[in-house]
Assembly symmetry: C2
Homo-oligomer: 416 residues x 2
């Protein structure tokens, strides 16, 4: 028997459960202004320090009243109340509202103490010191109660959630100025492959290939707020890769090694990784397509991800394998990719059983339904990456889907 | 007869057709590095200046051959070829391949002239100067042809498309360094409302409301790459609004006026807009919920958008009305919101006929389907904005949807 090579193949589910379990959040906390917090992961539970809206607020222009003073009111027999005062927006009412009194109140203004409902202006008539109410109101009618939106002490942001515009709205409304967040992860990217040259290299031989993956990754991850540094180009040379890897491990929280197209590259990517830290390579190859030649290692606690060199495989693997790792490192609780809906297939797609397939699609709307047109599925085609709105997922246990079937849709780049 | 007030109500479809037709792209072009172009709209059609991959590329490790030299080959009767030379990745082959010759070739390497297929290594055996091929190959087998991905002259980016990571991949691969893009739009934001105070104001009366809308808009639009300036807070005072509007029209391509909660505010927003430029207000009110109190004007060619003060209405209107306007201004061709899939409703939702409804939902996956849990639909609730993954759309002509029905899903903030 010759040397047996142990292929540590994993399903995507195993990556999510077994590998990601080993990835520990960095837990580096900093305090920043809410104004800069969009896209950061919160490092604290933030309770509301007040109710929201914080006062009983009128939802209409009209008269604040005690509901019981309007009982039985009608056009023929209006309830006649005393005009008390006026409440403008932003003002605290002058005094409590007495029995059989009505106070003119603007939309958004604060109800006086004593008032428990607002009669819409169109159901009232004013005669000097008197207000005729032509329609009864129930307690609470046209009123947004002081804690209807948020109750004092209620958590408005929880630890491990990525701050979105909805959280900003709440924090601004509650006057929260600063919060604790986890620092953004820093990613180092090494390109490998003897055939790879810089994208803007002028003296390129016809057989050489311009590096598109690492630069695209840099632009994409930066747009998501990550810190990313392109460490450089590495020849197909284990010693050189080992040195570059060791070096970049000093400066970054996670390392990405972008593979060249050659099969040899993957082999010494694995060797270099195993030499650089413990436990080393965890999985070599993922049962997904595209994206199979992905290598996952953990080197002295640092995730190192070998991504395939083919730009399509690279993109799918970056989206479904790398991004969840970075999200978990940043302390996010919900770090796994989620479908944003289902789409109807415009034509049949086939799939090899035993592998999870991601098929690039372009979406269109027809007959009030969202359809997906699968794009040419040749893995090596970069050109249709630019046309794709995202991918549909075909689980490993099916052989394909028919036109008209539903499939889960994932945007390729936008969204978390 | 008293003064008749003409309510220029519009459906969202009218906004998209009639109002957006009046919005002219700014057509301000600048040339930037591809490295900075993510999220910009291309101002030019970019043709490929070479084929991609640009050379016939082997998809496997094996032997490059002339397919016809392998005809009839089998394990018992292998085709015996002369070992010619080796081709590494990134190298141009030394010489053309002759008849009955085989050249060792790595995955990703360039086929020699004369070769038209590659036999996988596992179907071959090398004996010194000879290579035995145990399986025939067809012309083109295991070869990615020089123009299989992109053909010389093919457009890889078209004018009016927003540059995504897929376009970056292609531009880097083709060595494109710079491109013409439309300049990002500059947006001025004015907050209005007597009740509104700055979010971090310490001496706030209980009846005052902190400004969350304009700051959230600033953070959100910045994250999408727009230039945005918060002009400031305006009292409920037509003259003051008129002056602030006139001023900010000098510095920005589009103006957003965030309304306070009071109905009066909307009236002088309209007056101030009509005084500031021609033709003035085009639509006052959109048949959508939330988001109805949206005002759309065109002032001397500049779009001015009055957004509702309620944070939920504000968000929906910013997403479905403001964003398409900004996208069209930036020269994007596909500027309308698109659903990213369909989701199954977890419970019934009702809707008032005649208005397009957008219901905030939270997504979850169950039984391999994507479900949407509608969140409390009280418009005024800000707290569930933070929990929502997006909204479903209920067209104006229906009265509601039942649990289990499908609805179109739109992310609220992410994605275009």
């Amino acid at each position: 028997m010759g040397e047996m090579r142990f292929l540590k193949l994993a399903t995507l589910q195993q990556v999510y459960s077994e590998y990601l379990r080993l990835v520990n959040p960095l837990d580096r906390v900093e305090q920043i202004s809410v104004l800069e917090s969009l896209g950061f992961v919160s490092a604290e539970d933030i309770p509301a320090r007040q109710d929201l809206p914080g006062f009983n607020k009128s939802l209409v222009d009209g008269y604040a009243v005690r509901a019981k003073d309007t009982t039985g009111a009608s056009t023929s027999f209006p309830a006649v109340l005393h005009f008390a005062f006026e409440v403008k927006v932003g003002e605290e009412p002058k005094r409590p509202l007495g029995q059989n009194e009505a106070a003119w109140i603007a939309t958004g203004a604060m109800l006086p103490i004593g008032a428990d409902a607002v009669v819409m202006a169109e159901h009232t008539q004013r005669f000097g010191e008197y207000v005729e109410v032509m329609k009864p109101v129930a307690v609470g009618e046209n009123v947004f109660k002081k804690d209807d939106d948020v109750k004092l002490g209620q958590l408005i942001v929880t630890k491990g959630v990525r701050i979105g515009p909805g959280h900003l709205q709440l924090m601004f409304q509650l006057g929260i100025q600063r919060l604790k967040v986890f620092r953004r992860v820093s990613v180092g990217v090494i390109s490998t492959g003897d055939e790879i040259v810089e994208p803007f290299e002028q003296n390129k031989s016809i057989a050489q290939v311009r590096d598109s993956n690492s630069y695209t990754l840099e632009c994409w991850l930066k747009s998501l707020g990550f810190r990313i540094e392109r460490v450089g180009l590495c020849r197909d040379d284990e010693e050189m890769l080992f040195k570059m890897l060791k070096d970049s491990m000093k400066n970054h929280d996670a390392i990405v090694i972008v593979g060249g197209s050659s099969i040899g590259t993957r082999d010494f990517t694995e060797s270099a990784m195993n030499r650089s830290g413990k436990p080393g390579v965890i999985f070599h190859g993922i049962l997904m397509q595209p994206g199979k030649p992905t290598v996952l290692g953990l080197l002295d606690g640092k995730p190192v991800v070998g991504l395939p060199g083919n730009p399509v495989s690279f993109t799918v693997s970056a989206r479904f394998v790398l991004l969840p790792i970075l999200r978990k490192l940043e302390g996010e609780i919900d770090f796994l990719p989620k479908p944003v809906g289902m789409v109807k297939l415009a034509r049949n797609v086939s799939s090899r059983q035993g592998r999870e397939h991601f098929v690039r699609v372009r979406l269109f709307v027809r007959d009030a339904q969202v359809w997906a047109e699968p794009l040419e599925s040749e893995t090596a085609q970069v050109s249709n990456l630019a046309m794709a709105d995202g991918v549909i997922r075909l689980p490993a246990n099916i052989e394909g889907l028919y036109a008209g079937d539903f499939a889960e849709f994932y945007p390729l780049w936008s969204g978390w």
